[in-house]
C-alpha cells in the first residue's frame, strides 16, 4: 500500500488597518460604507493618476516580516502584476515580484496532542477552543518531537482590489463593482510547502493571527475579509514508512501538481478544505491518475471544494518594475529601529510569564493568547505589587491568573485596579483563620455575659448584637455567615 503524504503550503492575505489607503489618501476603513464613496483618481485608476506609497503600511509589512524571522533585503521595489479583471481598475495590481520586503523567515509551531485534544474537548464555543489550543501548546512545549518549523518564503506588500457583487438587475444577471476596497494595503505571506496536515495548517494560521494581532497592524477579521486564507495542497508518496520525509523538502521532491483553494475565511474551513482535498487527491492517485493542477473554490455549506473554471487558459502576469514608484532602500539602522518597535511576541511572553510569575504553561498560554489579556494581567500584577507595599495582603500572580482564567472577568469592564481590589477583599475574608476567630468570639462572649444569658433565656434576637460585636472586632473583614454559625454553636 502507498504511503501518502500531504504537502501543504499557505498563502495568506492580510489587510492592514492604516488610516489611509496604500497609494492614495482615501480612507482605508471601507467596511460597511456606501459603495464608491472612498475613491479618488488614484484608487479608481483614472487616466493620469499616480500612486504614492503609504509609509506606515510599508513599515508594518517590514515589522510583520521581522516578527516572522524574515531577512529584510536592503533594496526592495514595487512591480506591476498585469491582468484584466473588473475589480482591478488599473488593469494591473501594484505588488512585489523579485524583490519583496521580507524573505526567508520561519515560524515554530507546537503540534503534539492536537488531535487527542480535539476528541477530549468536543466543545465548540470560542473560549473552549482557545483553552484547548492553549493546552495543546502547553502540553507540547519543550517536547522536541512536537515542535516544528514552518519556513516562510516571503512577505510582500500589495494593494487590494475592488469588491464584486453578483446580482440580478431588471431580470438580467450582472456584476456590480464597488471600489471602496480598491488599493487598501494588503500584505501577502507565503509559506514553503512544509505543512503536512490540516492540523498543522490550522495551528500555523492561529499563531500567525495571534502575531498579527499582537503587532496591532490588522484586525485580521476573517468575517470582514481582512484576513484571507489560501492553502495549496498536493499529495506525495513518502519514500518509506520507516524513513519519513524530512520536513524541509527540496523542490524536486514535490509532487508535479498543486491545487490551490481560494479565499477561505475561517481556520476551521481551511482545515476542512485541506482534509477534503487530501481525500479527493488520494482517491485520484489510487486510481493511478494525477490530480489536475488547478484553482478550486470552497463551498462551506456542502463542505467540499469545487473546480473553478479558469477564465483564461494561461496566466501571464507580465511583471515589470513599477516605474511610478522609486525603489526602497533600508539602512541597517532603520531595520534595527523597526525591530525595536516590535512588541514582545506570544512565545517570548509566555516563557517570561512562566519564569517571572511562576505560572504553569497552561495558564501562561491562555493569558498570552491575546495581547490585551496579557497586558491586563501584567497591569493587575503591577497594581498588586503596589498594594503589597501599602497593605498586608496575600495575593500571588497565580491567584490573579486564576481569577482571569476561571472567573472570566470582563476585562473591558473591570479595570485591573478594580480586579486586584476585589481579589484582595475576597482574599482577606477567607484569610482570617478559625483559631483567631474563636479567640475573638471567646472575648466577646465573656465581655457580654448579659447578652449570652438573654440568648439562653430565649431572646435569640441578641445574636445580631453579638455578631455585630464580633464583626467590629474583626474590623469588618469577617464572613458573617461563618461567624453566625460559630456563635450559634457556642451559645447552644
Amino acid at each position: 500500500m502507498n504511503n501518502f503524504e500531504p504537502i501543504i503550503g499557505l498563502e495568506i492575505h492580510v489587510e492592514l488597518k492604516t488610516k489611509s489607503k496604500m497609494f492614495c489618501g482615501c480612507n482605508a476603513d471601507y467596511f460597511g460604507h456606501e459603495p464608491n464613496t472612498h475613491c479618488c483618481p488614484v484608487c479608481l485608476g483614472l487616466p493620469g493618476a499616480l500612486p504614492v506609497p503609504n509609509r506606515r503600511a510599508v513599515e508594518w509589512c517590514v515589522m510583520l516580516g521581522l516578527a516572522l524571522n524574515c531577512e529584510i533585503p536592503l533594496l526592495s521595489k514595487f512591480d506591476r502584476k498585469n491582468y484584466f479583471y473588473p475589480d482591478l481598475p488599473k488593469g494591473y495590481q501594484i505588488s512585489q515580484y523579485d524583490k519583496p520586503f521580507c524573505v526567508n523567515g520561519w515560524m515554530e509551531i507546537y503540534i503534539k496532542d492536537v488531535i487527542s485534544n480535539e476528541v477530549r474537548n468536543p466543545g465548540s464555543i470560542a473560549a473552549v477552543k482557545n483553552i484547548r489550543f492553549a493546552r495543546s501548546l502547553a502540553n507540547a512545549r519543550d517536547d522536541n518531537g512536537s515542535k516544528k518549523t514552518i519556513r516562510i518564503r516571503r512577505v510582500h506588500m500589495e494593494e487590494d482590489t475592488g469588491k464584486l457583487l453578483h446580482g440580478v438587475v431588471n431580470g438580467e444577471k450582472c456584476t456590480l463593482i464597488d471600489f471602496n476596497r480598491s488599493s487598501v494595503p494588503l500584505v501577502e505571506i507565503v509559506t514553503e510547502p512544509d505543512i503536512r496536515s490540516s492540523d498543522e495548517a490550522k495551528i500555523f494560521l492561529k499563531k500567525l493571527y495571534q502575531i498579527i494581532r499582537y503587532l496591532g497592524i490588522s484586525d485580521a477579521d476573517m468575517v470582514k475579509g481582512s484576513m484571507r486564507l489560501e492553502p495549496n495542497i498536493s499529495v506525495g508518496i513518502a519514500a518509506s514508512p520507516s524513513a519519513p520525509r524530512n520536513d524541509n523538502n527540496k523542490e524536486s521532491e514535490l509532487p508535479s501538481y498543486k491545487v490551490e483553494v481560494k479565499n477561505i475565511n475561517s481556520f476551521n474551513f481551511v482545515k476542512k478544505a485541506i482534509d477534503y482535498e487530501i481525500e479527493r487527491q488520494i482517491e485520484i492517485l489510487e486510481r493511478g491518475e494525477i490530480p489536475k493542477q488547478e484553482t478550486r473554490g470552497w463551498d462551506e455549506k456542502k463542505g467540499i471544494t469545487y473546480s473553478q473554471r479558469s477564465k483564461e487558459e494561461a496566466h501571464d502576469y507580465r511583471y515589470f518594475p513599477e516605474p511610478d514608484i522609486p525603489p526602497i532602500r533600508w539602512t541597517t539602522d532603520q531595520i534595527t529601529k523597526y525591530k525595536l518597535q516590535i512588541p514582545e511576541l506570544p512565545d517570548k511572553k509566555l516563557k517570561r510569564f512562566i519564569k517571572e510569575y511562576g505560572l504553569s504553561e497552561y495558564d501562561a498560554a491562555i493569558l498570552t493568547e491575546e495581547k490585551e489579556v496579557a497586558e491586563y494581567y501584567e497591569s493587575g500584577i503591577k497594581n498588586y505589587e503596589l498594594r503589597i507595599k501599602n497593605e498586608k495582603v496575600n495575593i500571588t500572580p497565580k491567584i490573579i491568573a486564576n481569577w482571569i482564567i476561571n472567573k472570566k472577568v470582563n476585562i473591558s469592564r473591570v479595570t485591573p485596579e478594580e480586579l486586584v481590589k476585589l481579589i484582595s477583599q475576597k482574599q482577606q475574608t477567607v484569610q482570617i483563620d478559625e483559631k483567631e476567630l474563636d479567640k475573638i468570639i471567646d472575648e466577646i462572649l465573656s465581655d457580654n455575659q448579659k447578652a449570652v444569658n438573654d440568648y439562653k433565656a430565649g431572646k435569640t434576637q441578641v445574636l445580631m448584637f453579638l455578631l455585630g460585636m464580633v464583626m467590629r472586632g474583626l474590623a469588618g473583614k469577617g464572613d458573617t455567615a461563618l461567624i453566625r454559625k460559630l456563635l450559634e454553636k457556642r451559645l447552644q
Binding site: R80, G91, F320, D324, P326
Partner: protein
C-alpha cells in the same frame, strides 16, 4: 502688430504698462483661433465665449493651450483617442492646476497622435493637425496641436509631453522653442501616461525667454508624483543672458552618421558656426551606444504602454478596448509580447541594461563638455501619408530624440533655419537639472538669429 503675435514676455510687460487689457489679449487670440484652427486643426476642443479665468496672478489674461493628454476638470480630455472621446475628467493635473491658479486661461485642448503614439500627428483618432508652414506637410508629433498653436499665433504658450521626442520634433518642424525637461523636473500627475519612465512634461513658446518663464512655474516636487525631484528650482531666466563664451559644446559623432538629410546637416553646421562665432568651443565626442537607443526605446516604451493602457476597459470611463486605433494596438501588442513569459529577459531586461549603458554614455560625455548639440530630426518635415504604411520608418523619425528620454536628461529644441520654406530645429542637451544652462545656450543663439521672428503665412 496684432496682440496674438506678441511673445509671452511682451504680453506680460504690455499688461503691466497698461498698453492693452487682458480682455483685448484674450479676444485677439480667440479670434485668431476661430480663423486659423479650421485650417490647421490644432485644437480638438476650443473653450471660447467668456470662459476666462478671472483669478489674479502672473498669468492673468494669458491664454494657454494644453495637449489633450493633460487631464482638465470638467473639460473633455481625449488623449487624441476615440476611447476617450466623451471623457470629462473629475480632476485637474498638477500642471494645469498650477497654471490656472496663476490666472492663465485655458483656451483649448490641442490635437495629438492618439495616446502620444506618433511622430507626425497623423495618428490622431480625430483628424491630423497640419503644418502651418505648408499644410501639405506634417507638423511632427505627438504634441502636434500645441506646437502648431504656438507657431500659428493661437496662444503664446502651449503644453506638450515628450516621451521619445514628442515636444522637440514638432517644435523643430514648426519653428518654435520646445523643452523636454529632466525626467522628474515637472509633475506627471494628471497627465495620461504613455511610457511612465520616459514621459517628460514640457511646453512650447516662441522664444527661449518665454520658455524659461513657464518652467519657473511648472518645475518642482509634487507630493502626488513620487518621481518628481526635490532638486532646487532656480529662476530659469536669471542667467539666461550670460552667453556661451568659453562654453564647451559637445558634438557627438553618432548623431551625424548615415541617414541624416544633407539639408538638415547643412543647417546644423551653420548652427555650429554661429556658436563658434559666439566664443563657444565645439568638441568632438562620442556617445557609443547611440545606435542601440531606438531598439531599447521600442522595447521599454511599448511594454509600459501595454500596461498603462490596460485601465481603458470601458467600465469606469470611456469606451471599450475595441475603440483603440491601429498604432495603440500595435504598441500594446508589442509591449505585451516583450513582457510575456519566456521573453522578458531577452527583451525587457536586456533593454534595461542597455539603458544603463546609454546613461553612462552621457555621464562620461559631461565630464568633457558642458552641453551637447545635435539635430532634432534626421529629415525635413515630410508629407502626409509618406510613412503611415511603414511603422518602422515612422519610428526612425525619433532616432535622434529617444536617447534623452532613456537617459532622463533635459533637451531644448530651438529654431535653426529653413529649407524650402520648411523649418529645421536643433537641440541642446545637458546634464540632469541643467535647464538653466540650456536656456542660456539657446538664448545666445536666438539673439544672433531671427528664425524665431518668422511667422507662417496662413
Amino acid at each position: 502688430m496684432e496682440l496674438y503675435q506678441l511673445s509671452l514676455k511682451e504680453l506680460i510687460e504690455g499688461l503691466k504698462d497698461k498698453k492693452f487689457t487682458r480682455k483685448e489679449i484674450l479676444v485677439s487670440f480667440y479670434t485668431r483661433i476661430q480663423k486659423i484652427n479650421p485650417i490647421v486643426n490644432a485644437f480638438l476642443t476650443v473653450i471660447g465665449g467668456n470662459n476666462w479665468n478671472d483669478k489674479e496672478g502672473e498669468l492673468s489674461g494669458i491664454p494657454v493651450g494644453f495637449k489633450d493628454i493633460y487631464v482638465t476638470k470638467d473639460i473633455r480630455t481625449t488623449a487624441g483617442s476615440k476611447v476617450l472621446e466623451n471623457y470629462i475628467p473629475q480632476y485637474n493635473s498638477t500642471v494645469v492646476q498650477k497654471l490656472v491658479s496663476k490666472g492663465a486661461t485655458i483656451v483649448g485642448k490641442t490635437n495629438q497622435d492618439a495616446w502620444a503614439h506618433g511622430s507626425s500627428g497623423e495618428n490622431s483618432d480625430f483628424a491630423p493637425t497640419k503644418n502651418p508652414w505648408n499644410i501639405d506637410y506634417v507638423p511632427g508629433g505627438s504634441s502636434s496641436g500645441s506646437a502648431v498653436a504656438v507657431a500659428a499665433g493661437m496662444c503664446p504658450v502651449a503644453f506638450g509631453t515628450d516621451t521619445g521626442g514628442s515636444i522637440r520634433l514638432p517644435a523643430s518642424f514648426c519653428n518654435v522653442v520646445g523643452l523636454k525637461p529632466t525626467y522628474g523636473r515637472v509633475s506627471r500627475y494628471g497627465i495620461i501616461a504613455m511610457a511612465s519612465s520616459h514621459d517628460s512634461i514640457g511646453h512650447f513658446t516662441r522664444t527661449v525667454y518665454d520658455n524659461a518663464l513657464i518652467l519657473n512655474m511648472t518645475a518642482g516636487k509634487d507630493p502626488c508624483d513620487a518621481t518628481t525631484s526635490n532638486t532646487n528650482v532656480p529662476d530659469y531666466t536669471k542667467n539666461i543672458k550670460n552667453g556661451v563664451k568659453g562654453l564647451k559644446i559637445g558634438l557627438p559623432k553618432e548623431y551625424l552618421a548615415k541617414g541624416i538629410d544633407p539639408n538638415v546637416e547643412k543647417i546644423f553646421k551653420q548652427v555650429l558656426q554661429k556658436y563658434e562665432g559666439l566664443g563657444a568651443k565645439i568638441i568632438d565626442i562620442s556617445l557609443p551606444h547611440t545606435e542601440y537607443a531606438l531598439a531599447v526605446y521600442y522595447i521599454i516604451q511599448p511594454s509600459e504602454v501595454s500596461s498603462n493602457l490596460a485601465r481603458y476597459d470601458g467600465i469606469r470611463f470611456g469606451n471599450d478596448r475595441n475603440r483603440f486605433g491601429q498604432e495603440a494596438i500595435r504598441r500594446i501588442m508589442l509591449g505585451t509580447y516583450t513582457l510575456s513569459a519566456g521573453y522578458y529577459d531577452a527583451y525587457y531586461l536586456k533593454a534595461m541594461k542597455v539603458r544603463t549603458l546609454l546613461i553612462q554614455d552621457f555621464k562620461k560625455a559631461y565630464e568633457k563638455v558642458d552641453v551637447i548639440i545635435t539635430p532634432v530630426s534626421p529629415t525635413l518635415p515630410f508629407k502626409f501619408g509618406e510613412k503611415t504604411d511603414n511603422p518602422l520608418a515612422m519610428y526612425l523619425s525619433d532616432i535622434l530624440t529617444v536617447t534623452m528620454n532613456l537617459a532622463g536628461v533635459p533637451a531644448l529644441s530651438i529654431p535653426g533655419g529653413f529649407v524650402r520654406g520648411l523649418p529645421v530645429g536643433f537641440q541642446i542637451v545637458g546634464p540632469n537639472f541643467s535647464e538653466d544652462l540650456l536656456y542660456q545656450v539657446g538664448y545666445a543663439y536666438e539673439q544672433v538669429t531671427d528664425w524665431h521672428k518668422q511667422k507662417p503665412k496662413l
